[in-house]
């Protein structure tokens, strides 16, 4: 890539001065931003659309409904079993404190 004065002169004379709109730069950036946003929306659509399509099918929707409700009830039962176990231990300790003076003093402290 040697610096060729003749070529440079030829390029300078052949390129005419094209007028650029005032907000040319801003508009270019707006277009880039809009394109990025559209691409992101397409990503979300790509993720949710198959699921939404399945939800529109009654059989799948019914199965999903039963699984969600059953899962929630199952999780609640497990958590309740833990809570009940803790409650039993606390009530047992409360009863022992009515019998054992050491346990009572420990509670009173």
């Amino acid at each position: 890539m040697n610096d060729d004065p003749q070529l440079r002169e030829l390029l300078r004379t052949s390129l005419s001065d094209v007028p650029v709109p005032n907000r040319f730069g801003a508009e270019v950036w707006q277009r880039i931003q809009a394109r990025n946003e559209a691409s992101a929306q397409r990503g979300w659509k790509k993720f949710f659309e198959p699921m939404f399509a399945l939800l529109m099918r009654p059989t799948f929707a019914a199965i999903a409904f039963l699984l969600m409700v059953g899962g929630a009830a199952g999780a609640a039962s497990l958590r309740a079993a833990d809570a009940n176990e803790q409650a039993r231990a606390m009530l047992a300790a409360q009863h022992v404190a009515t019998l054992d003076p050491y346990a009572r003093l420990a509670v009173m402290r």
Partner: protein, 154 residues
């Protein structure tokens, strides 16, 4: 696009309702037992006491209450005396030895009274419940002092 979103939201709402309803129903009994402050509801449910048995146990507990308070006072007094002597003494003294003996004696008396009350309560229970009750109390008041089999098969 709106309809599937609504379906999904309805499913999530139904799952949330199922969760809270299940939890509420499954813990209702425990909440009821906690609402009775003296723990009698727990004893009654846990050891399947009849009305008559529950009344007999309540009477026993009522009679035992002043004795338990008296023992609490004795424990506190003997401990305080021992702590005071430990703080003041520079060598082992006969008073310190006597205070230590008093603490041990108080502990033995309290354990004996607690066990006697346990046996008295369990006498009002069905045999298999009585065994379970005594094992539970022994495990809590005498941890590590009884072999497991002794506690459960007595």
């Amino acid at each position: 696009m709106k309809k599937p979103v609504l379906i999904l939201l309805a499913m999530l709402a139904a799952a949330a309702i199922a969760y809270f309803a299940s939890y509420y129903c499954a813990t209702r009994e425990a909440r009821r037992m906690f609402s009775v402050s003296d723990g009698s509801a727990w004893l009654r449910t846990e050891f399947a006491l009849t009305d008559e048995q529950a009344r007999a146990v309540a009477a026993l507990q009522s009679d035992y209450e002043p004795r338990c308070m008296e023992m609490c006072a004795r424990i506190t007094k003997s401990r305080e005396r021992l702590e005071k002597l430990l703080h003041e003494s520079k060598t082992m003294t006969p008073e310190l030895e006597a205070a230590m003996r008093e603490v041990s004696q108080t502990q033995a008396d309290c354990r004996a009274a607690t066990l006697a009350q346990t046996f008295a309560i369990s006498a009002h229970m069905a045999p298999e419940q009585a065994v379970r009750y005594r094992a539970m109390i022994a495990e809590r008041i005498l941890p590590g002092t009884l072999p497991h089999d002794t506690a459960t098969h007595r």
